[in-house]
Structure formats: structure tokens, C-alpha cells
Symmetry: C2
Subunit: 146 residues, 2 copies
DNA sequence: TGCTGAATATAGCCTTGGCTTTATTTCGGT
DNA sequence: ACCGAAATAAAGCCAAGGCTATATTCAGCA
């Protein structure tokens, strides 16, 4: 049953820009996930080893190593062979930003009434697409409720 | 300045599952975007041509054609050479679902206080990561405000 | 101290989703 | 009716992010 609804499209360049941004976001999402996880492992264990990173991300070791190399290329992490992985200043800053954003997203979802589990799980995907403007609105929204 | 915060991680299998799901979502996101756009173009113009799809998505024509072929492989669309693209039943159903979800996400963001522009733009990325449970919570939340 | 098992790294392959370049087909205007 | 421009399709390239299989290095323990 196909419901007829009024349909309108954004202006072409606007729409193209949006989709482009979404694509970019997806490419940085991976980096953000790695950086956040590495920061967590460092905070908890004092070290972040590729094998742990791989297990946490549900990925094979070589895949993790490849991504870690990309982090190094991008100046977010450092690693010497057979030592653990560490974050650069930039990496640490990114991790902090990502972690705070993650918590805000989870909190907003929770306040809205999303069950804990779903909130945590969905936030993992959602957070990478939350712009600065949206993040600010989220913060204000949370402040209202408290 | 690195702020110390209490950090804890989800259980390993839980976390791996979440990341895995996020990865899967990204692979279906593209299909969803195409299907939604094709539905919109069909509704507005009566036809969806590769060149328009490409322009709207901010992508080269060949890239669009490749993705359209993938849609065909997945049974979501049909297209004969030099004719436009059409949706199958499944494709139309997906388009309907995606469009309704998109509007709900935009509405929720707006109610929270996100500016129109940012809401529309961010929803483009966010919507693909909204689970059924979260979507239900969103609906309830919107109903409350009205 | 040496050896074995675990961790790490490397190599090579696949798919996806971008791109450009080139060839083909369609269609509108004279 | 035709011809040239625009749309479409086809071919071939690239990077990212998966994988398995194969070295290599490390580290703990007998």
C-alpha cells in the first residue's frame, strides 16, 4: 500500500553538498572509533594493543593494524613495532571530543525515552553525523531537563 | 588540557556486535539514499534519470549507474538501457520506510532545538543508524509534544 | 637460558564506491 | 530526415577497509 504524500526536494547543490558531507563523515567515523577506543584502553589498561583493539571492534588483527597505520599517517597515533599504540596530542584531543559527544548523544536519546541498550548501540552510529550546531542544541536540551 | 574522566567499556562481545552493526548500516545507507531519491524524483518528475540522480547525490554519472546496478542486483530497482530507473515493490516499500523515518528524525531534531538547516543535513547521516526501538521512542516523543 | 605459544606484522586478495576516459545511443531542432 | 549535442553505458583505475595465510618477534616458563 503506497501512501501518497507531498514530496519536495532541496535545491540541487544543497542536496549534493549534504550527501557529500555524509560520505566524508563516514570516512572519518572509522578514525574516530579507533581513537576513542584506544583512549579508553589506555585509560583503563595503561596500554592499547592491536589484538585488543581488533577484538573490541570485532575485526581481524590485520584489519586493525591497517587502520592503525592510517591513524599514524593522519598524525593521530604513534606506534613502534611490537609496542602498543599511543595517541598524539591531536589524537587525544579528538578522543576527548568524540567521547564527550558520544555521551551527549546517549543522554539525549535516553531523555527522549530510548531504552539504554538501543541508545548505546545507535549512538555508536549516530554520533559521527552530529554537527557542531546540533551538538550545541543537544547540550541546551539536556540543560533544560536538569 | 586533557580532562580525566571515569571510563568504562562495554563487554567485549557487546561492543564488537555494536561496531559490526554500525558497519553493516553503512553499507545499506547508500542503497537507502538512492532508493529514497529515486522515489522522490519519480513522484515529482514522473521519471528518475541517472544523470539527475548523479547530480542530486553530488556524484559522477558512472558512479550513479554503478550503484543503480547494485540496486537492481538487490531487487530494489529495475531499469532498461536508456530508459529511466524504476522501483520494484520492495524498493518502493523501502523508500516509504526511509522517507517516514527521515521525517521523524528531522522532526525530533527540530523539537529539540536544532536549526532547520542542521536538522535536515544531519538527519541525512543519522537516519541510517536509527533502530526500530529508537524510532518508536522518537514517535512517542513527538506525540507527547503535540 | 632456551623454546614454545601468543602477539604482531606482512603479503596478497576481494568488494565497494569513488573517479576519468571512451564509445554508444537517443532525441530535438533545422 | 539528419546531425550534433546530451544522455547513457562500458572499461579501467584508485583507495579504503574487510579477509586469510604466512612470516616474524616477544616474553614467560621449564
Amino acid at each position: 500500500m503506497t501512501m501518497k504524500q507531498s514530496v519536495s526536494l532541496p535545491a540541487e547543490p544543497t542536496q549534493a553538498r549534504r550527501f557529500g558531507k555524509t560520505r566524508t563523515a563516514q570516512s572519518t567515523a572509522l578514525l574516530e572509533d579507533y581513537v576513542e577506543l584506544i583512549a579508553d584502553l589506555l585509560a583503563i589498561n595503561g596500554e592499547a594493543r592491536p589484538v585488543d583493539i581488533a577484538r573490541r571492534l570485532g575485526v581481524s588483527h590485520p584489519t586493525a593494524v591497517k587502520s592503525i597505520n592510517r591513524l599514524k599517517r593522519e598524525g593521530l597515533a604513534t606506534a613502534r613495532p611490537y609496542r602498543g599504540v599511543f595517541l598524539t596530542e591531536a589524537g587525544q584531543a579528538l578522543a576527548d571530543k568524540v567521547r564527550s559527544r558520544h555521551r551527549i548523544v546517549v543522554d539525549v536519546l535516553t531523555v527522549i525515552g530510548v531504552p539504554r541498550d538501543a541508545a548505546e548501540a545507535d549512538a555508536e552510529g549516530i554520533e559521527h553525523h552530529v554537527s557542531e550546531a546540533t551538538l550545541r542544541a543537544f547540550s541546551r536540551f539536556l540543560k533544560l531537563g536538569s
